[in-house]
Symmetry: D2
Subunit: 298 residues, 4 copies
């Protein structure tokens, strides 16, 4: 009987250890399309005794690429698993195993509070599962807001600096935190190609129009001048063509003749912050793939 | 007692005659803004014993203009009423008394059936209070559909004609019906300035994008290439700048990476027809005013 | 050289035969969740040399069920393929191989034209890939509309019949066409349990409210009385609890205090027809699965 | 020349005094409908040399009532102006002249931060023109958030108190601030009739469903159980029937089978906060009229 208890305890202990070792990870696969890819990948998962919690895949006929996002649960041996995958997938495949470790972001701002405030609130109250390492502004206006949420704020003024010098200072400060993503929460400056290249596919911007309409400065004033009946916002990855990077999310609201450029701006702020935070949520959940100038969201 | 009956009958007869004379009309006023305009106009209505059923007004601070739409009920003496109004309103005022007589439209089409079909259905079943005088196509494809609804179809092919000659033929045919509005229900040709000038502010077009994005040809293909996450449609008055006339109505739907240009086109058709018929409904209800390149919808 | 030509011809002939034999089919799998299901199913596809064109799957943790929709291309041997599947899947699995043969529907109507008209238009112009076998009305009002589209209309009046007798007559007529689905396009009668059981999970209804609000009669009047700021429509499978079957699709539009029950009805008609046709499109594309009182749309 | 300068100075001084005396006020009129009301009211404005900046009116045929909101600019003698109005309007008219003085609100909360945080952010950064006198919670959880925005937080726990005793304590504390409105920002307790009567038509609640669907507790769980494809939120005035007061604003978002009750809750939070803040904005702009169980928003 003692023995039996011992055995049970032993078993429990083994189970506990298994539970401790059990992890959830996300496999992201992006590769040239080929026959049998789902079968090959899921077989390898099965062989490694990794249970598929959720799986989504897509074949982009435009680019001839295959995309798959697989939530796995089990005991991982990353090295062997990825080696097995590598030998099964076509050349030029990209495959990553992402642990569920909280992703890190740095937020850049200028003077507008609404997008920043929404991210701070959501992060503080559990609706955005991310670590905000720092907020960096080229103005000091939002420093008190950030500090209320116990997050470090850095002022890097652009005054008296060339764009290159300012961007370099920004880039240096951002790099200290090795963030997974840089979020432009109404950061109202155009970035240098060096900056964009340095954080390639890692910079997410919110533009206050439904792109490709009203690219560039003062989109609400452009919208008012044109007399449109909808206004909107676009979250996108930044590339070197202004407001032309891969779009992640867009939304609009209806306006009418009673709106001025100012009341459009005010109404638009809710759209901007909603679109940015939803886009960021998809990105940090490892759901967003970039192919050429498009996004696939699984 | 006989007398009493007689009197009653006389009174009834008078009341009946009054009821017969009683009409509903819509007063549209568009003029430079000035103090006391609502007071002046409603006083004149009151003086003429016209009851205000519904009233809407707007001051456009951009242009400094005043707009008012007044649904009136009573016995109208149009000439005296309008003369009274004219002496009270500022110079350069536009004021019209619109009887509720059913407005007449001519519809132009090419090959696509959905917007046309929606207008035909709505007109046939009481959801669009308009007389469709004729449908004119530069292709014959939609003739059977139109004729099923007992509406005359005219084929005016553009084959072998210059744009000017074709437009002139179209204009001549349209003019036979003296329509209040010309509705371009996916009429896929650019109009000559002469055509546009001839039906100034009377041509309503549906463009298959959320303008000002994707002006011109193949907007869904442009949308697909750009990788947008919304597609839409815009109903607007036609002026001489392609897809740049005053916007009446716009709407969008969400799309994702699974859409091709073709499935965007298909999904977009419902948006197009909804936007066009809602815009037309506002126009024929005398609710739409044009000021510069904008619309005010009261 | 002749020989070579012959060989080529032979090869071409073989290729042509292969192309002729190559088909697209959709595999629908619905079963208790288990480990390795995706892997097992895709392996069998791979083994049968069936190429996966598109695949979607979902695990419903509420019911513990697994759902998968797989578009396959290749040369099918249905019997062996399904037997292979059957031996790999858990007990109580449902799996069907659907050929792309055009599905057949019968539409039931009463007096309202808009949903019917939208389906007729879409079917006639290629936006709804379905065969409309017949339209059956309990009133004659819509007969001319249906016949304009060269589709047979049957009048089965409910006058003087018990509900049971009328439903039986309807059911008998519908059964003549062996439809895949019965579409209630504003058919304003409550069905008997016998009728519902006979066409189990095959009856699609459009209800003119955002369910579960405003169940039953006159939902727009209920909406007007309640003073709501949105109105909507719900497409759902019919079960024996009025307006409580599994929901397929819902949408709403905004209304304000200027709306009456009548103008709500008018505005609502566009929502109703859009929601019904989009729901039907998903159903006939074999994308809709029913589990308990819910739908999974892949 | 000296004289001229003096005269100019005098004139400037007079103009300055006039400018100082010039105010903007909002006239709200709600009365039984009658002929000539717009004319009568605008005449009185004209006679008092008050310029109409913006005017909206509505006749509710359901109740036979007339509603008008008039933004006026000029030098006000409130007493005489209102007396003049009173003698012109029908019996049982309600008419108020609202100065643009910032309205005062008290916010009640329980544990959820999102609606509160949005109001705090908007008030702090100029998007909500209101004075937040205090936030009162029946839990202490949100105290730090409130205090970060330098607004007093009061904890009035319901523990160990009857509902009546707790409501009385809340009411007493609220009354200290004489607020124009009491905003329930996810205050998760049912109010006593005494409380509701005390702040009649002054309590604004946000309910996390599209009413009248999912009244009462756990609406997202109800929504999940029902398998709806939309979720939403409703801002309404509170009366003594749970979730049945006059609706101010509603909105929805689309959901699908991948949502759980928890992810519905998370996605719904953005809708809730948007709907509440937009409703509050309309209310404090004096745009919302209540008639029976409906709102008219001018």
């Amino acid at each position: 009987m003692n023995l039996k208890i011992d055995t049970n305890e032993q078993q429990n202990s083994v189970l506990n250890n298994i539970n401790k070792l059990t992890q959830r990870k996300i496999l992201r696969t992006q590769c040239p399309d080929a026959k049998g890819l789902i079968s090959k990948i899921t077989n390898i998962c099965y062989k490694h005794q990794l249970n598929i919690i959720q799986n989504s895949e897509f074949v982009d006929h435009r680019s001839g690429h295959f995309f798959m996002r697989t939530e796995l649960e089990g005991i991982f041996n990353d090295e062997i698993f990825l080696a097995d995958l590598g030998s099964s997938l076509p050349e030029k495949s990209i495959y990553e195993l992402k642990s569920g470790i909280k992703q890190k972001i740095v937020i850049l701002v200028t003077k507008e509070a609404h997008c920043l405030g929404d991210l701070l609130m959501k992060q503080a109250y559990g609706d955005l599962d991310v670590e905000i390492c720092a907020v960096i502004g080229n103005h000091a206006l939002l420093q008190p807001l950030v500090e209320r949420f116990n997050i470090p704020f850095y002022l890097i003024s652009h005054e008296g600096l060339t764009r290159e010098a300012h961007d370099l200072a920004m880039r240096t400060k951002i790099s200290e935190f090795s963030p997974d993503y840089v979020v432009l929460a109404k950061y109202m400056r155009v970035l240098t190609p060096e900056f964009v290249a340095f954080f390639d596919k890692k910079i997410i911007n919110i533009h206050h129009s439904f792109l490709p309409a009203f690219i560039g400065a003062k989109p609400y004033h452009q919208a008012y001048e044109r007399g449109v009946k909808i206004i909107g916002a676009t979250a996108h990855f930044v590339n070197n063509n202004l407001d032309e990077g891969p779009i992640i999310m867009q939304d609009v609201i209806h306006v009418d003749h009673t709106y001025t450029a100012e009341t459009m701006m005010k109404a638009g702020r809710d759209v901007e912050k909603n679109v940015l935070s939803r886009a960021l949520e998809k990105v940090i959940a490892e759901r967003v793939f970039v192919q050429d100038n498009h996004t696939i969201i699984l």
